[in-house]
Symmetry: D2
Subunit: 343 residues, 4 copies
């Protein structure tokens, strides 16, 4: 931390700040600028709240120098984290494709979609059994029955499963059925939940909150890693801005930023990021072009009758076309994608 004292700060104000720093075990390196006195604070500043220092008398401003996260950072671990689940690898040069319906609606529905996707080479099946919904009057998911259907269907097609848990009580249940546990954007700072995920043994897919800075997102990942679970994927799924033509604004620039700051894989979700079917395709291409480690795409064979998010679900044929485009773009960014070409 660096503390900037006012031009002509009173000496008792300067002493007060110094005393407080010494009391907390910090060393101080002073430097006298043209207009200000700077106090460089030396020691472990992880737990400091910068605001506490900003409001002290005589202080103009205070800045944190070290990032408040450690385990998730590139400084801590240079090489890309690769998460291996069965024979599927996520991270580094692999471009992971996760696809499936928003909600599991019935065995028939999932079967129809999964068989189509598996035929196309998709290895990671998504589908919601517990659904976070803005309205208490909307469809809330099939619950455990949905998880059973997910597991049976995925096994039939040699796929692995990603599905959402809505709170810490569901971690055990989800872990029984699924291979990746998704944390929704609205739960990114549900600290009871993410703390518990540090103790879980299932890989975590951590969506960025719609108003979370990249630093806050990494701090939530830090909760999980510091709890002991190293298998975390980050997911950019759109932030809230003044523009409301789209449901959210997919922050494509978060992809190269997160990759620079952290070693964790980063996946893009253009379905939630736009909320509009015909915008999902260009934004999926853009995410891969920007260097994403994977895509999560909602696909439905009959989106008009989907029980949730039909408006943003691709038709299977659209998904096929997208995959053909993605394969070409992937080469440009040094990624490989396992899907066979359509014939």
């Amino acid at each position: 931390m660096v503390i900037i004292m006012e031009k002509n700060a009173q000496s008792d104000h300067i002493e007060h700040v110094e005393e407080r720093l010494h009391d907390q075990g910090f060393k101080i390196h002073k430097s006298v600028g043209m207009e200000h006195l700077l106090l460089g604070v030396i020691g472990d500043t992880t737990k400091l709240d910068v605001r506490d220092w900003k409001v002290l008398p005589g202080v103009v401003d205070a800045y944190r120098i070290s990032a408040p996260y450690k385990l998730v950072s590139r400084e801590f671990k240079k090489h890309d984290t690769v998460i291996s689940i069965k024979d599927v690898q996520i991270g580094a040069e692999n471009l992971a494709i996760m696809a499936g319906p928003c909600s599991v609606e019935s065995r028939e529905q999932l079967e129809t979609i999964a068989s189509r996707l598996a035929g196309r080479g998709v290895r990671i099946l998504r589908g919601g059994a517990f659904k976070p919904r803005t309205s208490p009057y909307s469809f809330q998911g099939m619950g455990e029955k949905g998880l059973q259907i997910l597991r049976e269907t995925a096994d039939k097609y040699n796929m692995i499963i990603i599905t959402e848990a809505m709170d810490k009580d569901q971690i055990e249940l989800i872990s029984q059925y699924a291979d990746i546990l998704q944390v929704g954007a609205r739960n990114m700072q549900n600290f009871s939940f993410i703390k518990a995920l540090g103790k879980a043994r299932i890989p975590i897919f951590l969506k960025r909150g719609i108003a979370a800075t990249i630093q806050e997102w990494l701090m939530s990942a830090e909760y999980i890693l510091s709890g002991g679970n190293q298998n975390v994927m980050l997911c950019e799924r759109g932030i809230r801005t003044f523009e409301n033509y789209t449901r959210n604004t997919l922050d494509i620039s978060a992809i190269p930023i997160a990759k620079k700051l952290s070693h964790l894989p980063i996946i893009a979700d253009p379905s939630h990021g736009t909320g509009i079917r015909d915008k999902v395709i260009p934004m999926a291409r853009a995410a891969v072009a920007a260097g994403a480690d994977g895509l999560m795409i909602e696909v439905h064979h009959d989106p008009e009758n989907a029980m949730s998010d039909g408006a943003q679900s691709l038709f299977p044929e659209q998904f096929d076309d997208l995959m053909d485009q993605i394969r070409i773009i992937a080469q440009v960014v040094g990624k490989t994608i396992e899907l066979p070409e359509t014939v």
Copy 2:
């Protein structure tokens, strides 16, 4: 809902939309504009997702006409909800003052602050025992021990207690000790939690998420009311904007808006809304001038040594001055405040 069809929409596209509406039991009222065909949708549209209709072929746009919430609305209940807890009333003409430290840190700390506030006439004591923190390395609260201290101290000074629960597992525990259960901004759309609060018997203090629209905030309150718990207070505590001089931007206009749309009491939290001590005072005055039903203010006798949020905590003398100012402003907006004048 109103659906607007393209100028020159193909007749099969029009028929398709109509068919889907009929299938779902809706009646349709057509009107032909100069440029568009309008389909007025008649029936219970609560569960519809407007986006599903926007993406149908031939459709230009679709608008929801009825608000998606019911129980929280002024249409449903004309008069202001008043929440009575022991002999304290929140809502209508009462201006509720909730004050205390960010975190309970020790018996001595809370005693010092509470005695001071009680002497000033404050009836509602705030204090956190479970603390949601951005960093896993920050102080996480005293837990149940903190709740015990809160209860003993409040009882001594004839105060009631508001404190935060971080998830549904804590509802029972909090209910044993506290009088009002606070839901933090980051949990406003933790649906497992707010669904469970509908079954709880304790009054709820629902903070607005930093990126929540007023409608989403009311929808979260609707979850609680529809579950059976009618005692909900809304709390505006700042939204996230591009301006980062302050921690958040306290959305003062949300106060008159929420009061128009809903019968629930609305409280302002200028401490979190600004994050800076010397901005708390003008913003507290502004919130009351705008018609808030109460204030939640962080106060600490030694903010420099507070274990959390010291930078935004008022010194007791500042709190006293503020109360004197608030009393005058309250008259302008037809509110009464129970605090005796300082002598």
Copy 3:
């Protein structure tokens, strides 16, 4: 400026940064932290672009220490600026009330409104003759004819005039008729315009852009002061956020912040800040409670037939009531308002 070098930065990277600083005439004060090397940059950093240093190899981050503005700052001038126009004073303990229609529509319209306002004691008449409109198809103002009507009407009622200029070519014309020249939010960073205003002799009313940080707003004022015109008022009129219930989000906290950072008077415009008539009143009260030096309020005797912004214009009776409320709140913040009480 402080430059933070990477932990284990290569010595040639460090030397390169130092060399560049020396070349530009800066002195350097080094301090070695636990994790980083800090370079304190000593000299006049006003013209530096911090980003240039952030991207140098080996650099983690760079922070500006001194504010980039000078003349507008409290450091430069301790006491509140008071702007005197004829016998009207704006700033310090005076609460300035500016009121009138959005647009001048006719001599009769302005006469009706101005006589009503003058009778209430208002001394500053607002009215637009040149109207910035989002659509090329909307009413664009009466032009010079409108200015003539403004002047004649104001003179009749012993009022001074504030009206908007849309570009630098209009400065001379506006100066002939009006007493205060308003710069609209969309022109806050029209640098050709604000540079020219530095040479003008008319007081300037500088609205904050809807996406301007407080610092950018002060920088635009700095353009005017550095050009030689010291008579600048700041106007907060709402920022753009994700919430779209209101036209803009009136950033009430900008009022105490601007007053702390700058000596210039700050006026609030709740009419544009909310865009909705019944929200103008509570927000006007809030602005005064937060310490504003004045209000700009749109008033129309027949808002339903106003040619622009009728939806946010108060009826004269509403304005009267508001003034009675404001008078009481003004006392709390140590302001006086010249208006006589209604009888």
Copy 4:
């Protein structure tokens, strides 16, 4: 426009709305919903301000059905606009590459950069002679001398020129030297300026304001087209959000949206969109993958010594690599790029 009346609206309120509509020459189509009465408004609603109707007694809400723009819309003109300047074509299947330094700094500087770019096949040279700067103390550009250098250098290498005008007084001067006139983001709603551009004969490059909705951006283009100048390109260059890791958030989704709503070409500017050199490259790829009609890229042979925006300028070698990547992605979206492959 559709007007929604309150459930149980008083009949005089309904009559009042109807009367006002009739007075303004509109026809009304009523439809009675389960909860509301709907008034469909038939006639030319271009000039209506929806807010005027929202605040009438008895009205719940009002929606605009027709877009407020016409000439820029796809409904008005189905096929992509192609702008031809000398032998360069912008729009449709052509991927336009505009590159050069932020500011023209000297003949030598521009010569060095232009020769390098021309050698790489770039046909459109960018460079600023008049610079809009946040601070009055920053470099403000070389002025007309810069334009002369631009012209001479471009002619030598058979390139066309794009450069910024800062107000309407500069239109004539810029038109003498340049081929495309750029309107900066801060001037997007400088209505005096864009109105004058409608009368100009030079093609216009209209940057989106950092807080402009897509609709407002199209309305500004409508000003120019309705004035008689059909040659307008749109430029997405980043919007302001809460995330401040980057200078702005490049809104990639605006690209497919603008292309759907309008026939005008849309160019992306990842240099200003990110403000950080190493983020320019992935975002440039993303923009093309999302379907942009072109890129504007800042390139400098010695960015560390650039007089403005060095931090976001690519080194020539980075630009070369980017072009090789872009060429591959362009195929995926059906675009051709004129640049020869590097050997």
